[in-house]
Amino acid sequence: MQERRRERLDRGVKVRSDTIYAVSSAKEILFLVGPGLALVTVLLILPLILPPYWQKVLTIAGVYALLAVSFGFLANFVGLVNLGGAMFVGVGGYISGVLNSTLGLPPLLTIPIASVTGALLCTLLLLPCLPLRGVYFAVVSFIYPLATVMIISATGVWGGTDGIAGLNVLPNVWVNQYVIILVVLACMFALTRLVNHADIGLVFRGVKDNELAIRASALNVTWYKAQAVFISAAMGCFGGAYLTHLYGWVGMSLFAMDFSILPLAATVVGGTSTIYGPLVGAFLLVPISESLRSFGTLRIVFYSVVMVFCVVFWTEGIMNYLRRRYEQFERWVRV
């Protein structure tokens, strides 16, 4: 029997556009910027064409996408698995909620303040486990949101189990959608630049792959890890603060498991080792999970199963698959 195998070859346009000659023709330029441009256009147009219910879903998907991107950045580029993404959301949400209800600051101020101070706080809280390798970061980050919920419900601070209601809300549905979409896009752009083109991005990747090499280069691993956690936490805290002012309410549900587990699933499904993968995964999983809303917590089972399946059997993920199909073609050759 004639044996055959699949051979993958780069497409001609990919080979041409890898070099400086890409700028010589419109086709190659389109090949390079096309996918990114398409993503941006789709995200910017979606709020205009969606029906009202799905506009709400879009804002939630945006928040989850932001969390997924922040998780993916830490896991894929710095090597820290954050099992407690809900901590960032909760801290950001509570800071902006408390600032708004006690000092009466408008959302325009509370959201940035919450993002920065919340990220600082989260980084400080996670600092003790940063000098260690292995599972410590995952373990400690997993405990924080659950312990915080216990503290809030036991002491009854900040409204206890009822939360704080009656906060300022964002002005209208268009602001809601475009704020989150623009922030997601800005974060994507900044992170892509950071990990691909900045020195610190190289250090982050080094921290993931070989910490000893980073130490040997006289760089302080803990300091770089702390910076990465700060960046990731700032995105998570923004998500929390945004949610607070989206609903005008802040409560313990901001520390819920959903905020930890869906970004994880989105990252794994969307494709590891890419910045865009988590975004695509989140925009795919959140609508599915919305349509499963009537099943209650079965949704979390759904993400978990999808996540385990992808991490074990389909490690490539959507984004890496699509990129391969976009840049290469396959053919069967005789061995």
Binding site: V81, V135, V140, F142, I143, M150, A154, T222, V308
Partner: protein
Amino acid sequence: MELLIYGLINSISLVLMSIGFALAYGVSRVPNFAHGALYILSGYLTWIFLNRLQMPYVLAIIMSLLVAACIGAMLYRSILIRVRGMPISEIIASFGVGVAILELLRWFGLRGTTYMLPPFAKGMVYIGGVPVDLQRLIIVGAGIAVVALLWFFTHYTKIGLALRAIAQNERAAMVLGINADLVATISVALGSALAGLAAVLLLPLGNITVQTGYEVLIFAIAVSVCGGLGSWGGAVVASFLIGLAQITTVTYIASHYHLVVAMLTIILILILKPSGLFGRQKELEERV
């Protein structure tokens, strides 16, 4: 006196909860984040065997322990074995399985006070003037027995020695003809069965709820991190530390701070002695 007795009981409960996790991590280096889920699942299965299938209590317990061990072995053979050596994937996969089991149980309606296991023995005894119910005494006895048996098992049986060999130096053990995958499967299965045993012993004190599953996982992690990941002797010492600290806060400050105490202990230990109380073995690998 009351403080001491209840602190002791609480510590032994923590030993029971965490020893399975510490054992599996110490041997196969797989952090079994499905530990809490297996704990609750065993409790639930025992309840089903007992109330739906009308089995005798002892048979129900043995059956659910066997099922827990089988699930643990399957979890390792079908999922974890494929991602060995990739810490991120190991964590995500085992955590995903755990969350899936727990949330599936929640969906089946595992909340409220419907699901309760009967205690083994009803009644009270007075120790130094402090009332202690018999179930708690059984827990203390069982905890001591489990630790003793486990020590005997890992020091004087062939499989137990193989477990320790793999934990110390996997390559050298493989050279000596120890099947690393088989041993790791046994360790995860044993860890799961120990989680089940803890569930059967401890759950009669309260209700079977999903939240308990997450808490058990946290306690197991806290104890293992404090004792030094992978050193189950350290886990026993750390259990006493955390257990006494928890009861002290309950007595002098307020209840509901179990988790916070565990959290603070982890943070303190990580700052003071990052490899845990007794985690000398892999210290160099884990510190940067």
